[in-house]
Amino acid sequence: MADSPIEQFEIHQIVPLIKIAGHQISFTNSAAYMLIAVALTAALMLGATAGRRLVPTRMQSVAELSYEFIANMIRSAAGEHGLKFFPLVFSLFMFILFANVVGLIPYTFSVTSQLVITATLALLVFFTVILHGIWQHGLHFFKLFAPSGVPIVILPMIVIIEILSFVARPISHSVRLFANILAGHITLKLVAGFVTAMIGGLGVLGWFAGTLPLAFTVALYALELLVAFLQAYVFAILTCIYLNDSLHPSH
């Protein structure tokens, strides 16, 4: 019983591809669900706006609303210059949103519950911030770590603390999304397991007693849906805030 909530996160190989340095590279169920998330995003954005009507249909309105939502988020967090990062932020938001929501369907694999995937996305943002900052501002980018108005006496300590908190960003960025989705799915599996455990343990009485964990599972599903949206939104808005640091580095 203690093992079963974790088994849903196992990676299964679907099509073995090549072997690199002793590691088998294959098309796994994780890769399949990532492709599904991308395909759904493309279907929504391309398919809904194919008609290009001036007065939008419902689906086109959904696509336009999501565009405006992200564009407003970038404008408020990073200013008008931040809109050059719109494709990155929009892709991150839609991919994480669809990956989270598709992972909630029973018997699917939740892509964002793998640390390697969220760490890849967070490191993508981290290196984009550093490389764009250095490319645009040169070494003046490192003024980010020395805020103005700090007394010279404590400046070395402040610089060290700022660097540490900067390096801690991709860690918290990735682990927040990963742990939220992982914990949600484990809890769902556990509470749903209580339903069958009640039926198995109490017999006929368990059929009636089992409605309580079932109701709790339904409530938990609603919470997990909220968490799916919220975590995608938080990932995107933190990306915008970090990108603002690379666009306007002086405090």
């Binding site: 203690a2 974790i6 742990a179 939220n180 992982l182 914990a183 938080v234």
Partner: protein, 76 residues
């Protein structure tokens, strides 16, 4: 101490962090409500900051839950 017993005690201790996080998250919403009841017309504009603050505060509770799950299911 028995290896498995130490694992379970560690997992239980990690859950204390979630209690502290509950206080933090409730603080975020409480302060938002205080401000919103004083200035209701400005409350809608700050809703995005509310959700951001909630997710950032909840993140630390999820980190401690992650430690507990690591101890229970990953450490052999």
């Amino acid at each position: 101490m028995d290896h498995d017993a130490a694992k379970f005690i560690g997992a239980g201790l990690a859950c204390i962090g979630m209690g502290a996080t509950a206080i933090g998250v409730a603080n975020v919403f409480g302060q938002f409500l205080t401000g919103a009841l004083r200035n209701p017309s400005a409350a809608g504009g700050e809703r995005n900051t509310l959700f951001l603050g909630f997710a950032l505060a909840e993140a630390f509770g999820i980190f401690s839950l992650l430690i507990a799950l690591l101890l229970l299911f990953v450490i052999k």
